[in-house]
């Protein structure tokens, strides 16, 4: 028969676990709300930027003179994968799905004979990837998003990528992050940042007639592109960070909600066992007393 004291200890411990998970859920929920607002407020800038880039590249006669951020280095040898994960765990499959995708991509590229470099954003990604790819990880950035993604962080990261690209450290850069679909579902997306793929819609008949308008360029088209592209890189990274942060909070909230529920179920089970056992002890003692009395 299970020991009553053991059961009591277990119930207390599960209860305190439940308190922690439910607190984490609350924290994630409030961070999520803020993250969602931030992601929403960042959307206009990214949209306008895309439209401007579309207008610019549509009027670009050929790709020959285009800046390298757009045209690429012409080679396809070294790939940089930027894996955006969280710094902390306990958020369900959030980090796992990024790691899985990164590993798959890296393996595919290596099989094709390419050189792979990995830049980890977030500690969890590094922890999981260093076992198989410790030689490929160029750096890990930690604690970028304690309270949320800021544009300054995105700009620094973009500047760094740009410098690496200029130095010829890679030819193609792809970022791997979780796209925030709903609170309970994230989708791992892998957009290519460098060279930046042109928005498809600009080539086909544009719905916005203004997009086809002939612009006065001030200063020259090349100079504008030269400035616009690095900024676009920052914006794309900013978007990825925001999405990732919102996804992380969503994933954590869901995971902690499940954990809280499971803990509740477990407490119910344990309490039931505890009460049964207690009754059994009482019955047993009564039987002993009665049979003792009868024996006299």
């Amino acid at each position: 028969m299970p020991n009553l004291k053991d059961l009591r200890v277990r119930i207390t411990s599960v209860t305190s676990t439940q308190k922690i998970t439910s607190a984490m859920k609350m924290v994630a929920a409030s961070k999520l709300r803020r993250a969602q607002v931030a992601a929403e407020e960042a959307r206009p800038y990214a949209d306008r930027m895309e439209r401007m880039l579309g207008a610019l590249t549509a009027s670009l006669p050929t790709m020959d003179g285009a800046p390298r951020l757009l045209a690429g280095t012409g080679a396809d040898k070294t790939h940089l994968l930027v894996a955006v994960t969280a710094d902390r765990g306990l958020c369900g499959g959030f980090n796992g799905s990024i790691v899985r995708e990164t590993r798959k991509r890296a393996n595919d590229l290596i099989r094709d004979g390419k050189t792979v470099k990995i830049l980890c954003v977030g500690r969890k990604g590094r922890d999981a990837l260093k076992r198989d790819f410790s030689a490929n990880i160029v750096d890990t950035l930690e604690n970028l998003m304690k309270t949320g993604a800021t544009f300054a962080v995105a700009r620094d990261l973009a500047g760094r990528l740009n410098a690496m690209f200029e130095a010829g450290e890679f030819d193609v850069c792809t970022v791997i992050f979780n796209h925030f679909k709903t609170v309970i579902s994230q989708e791992t997306t892998t957009p290519q940042l460098i060279p930046f793929p042109l928005p498809e819609a600009a080539d086909e008949a544009p719905t916005d007639a203004a997009a086809k308008a002939v612009y006065i360029m001030e200063p020259s088209e090349e100079e504008i592109l030269e400035e616009l592209l690095p900024r676009n890189l920052s914006v794309q990274i900013f978007r990825a960070l925001l999405e990732s942060f919102a996804s992380e909070q969503g994933a954590r909230m869901t995971a902690m909600d499940n954990a809280t529920r499971n803990a509740g179920d477990m407490i119910d089970d344990l309490t039931m066992t505890y009460n049964r056992t207690r009754q059994a002890y009482i019955t047993k003692e009564l039987i002993e007393i009665i049979s003792g009395a009868e024996a006299l």
């Binding site: 306008r48 439209r51 800021t150 360029m217 001030e218 200063p219 100079e223 504008i224």
Partner: protein
Amino acid sequence: MPDKVQLELVAPDRLLIAEEADMVVAPGGDGDFGILPGHAPLLSTLRPGTMDIYQDGKITQSFFVAGGFAEVTGERLTLLAEEAMPVAEIDRAAAEDRLKSAREAEAAADEGTSKVAEAERITAEAMLAAAESAGKGRT
């Protein structure tokens, strides 16, 4: 022809204003330019400076903008600024601090980072200038 310009000022983290104006003067990379309704399509870079919104011949609002682009399409003017804030909200002391640290960074910068440091110093200078001109009773 429309008689108002649809103005949008967007920073990376939020949309600052979206309203109609009679005229907008923006600090273009090659010099300030004014946008009136019906302006020809224009794409321009922005240098750090002050953007003024005119209503009925008077400046009603001024914004400090740094690093970005302006796009004009007929009746719409979109300003994308990496930094933007109302001139009245600039903190003089903070701007001075920023200029000071920017100067130090520029002095310490090497080949690779000097461009970034210089851009930062110019931004800080423009910010301070904007704050000063606002302090002189310019509305």
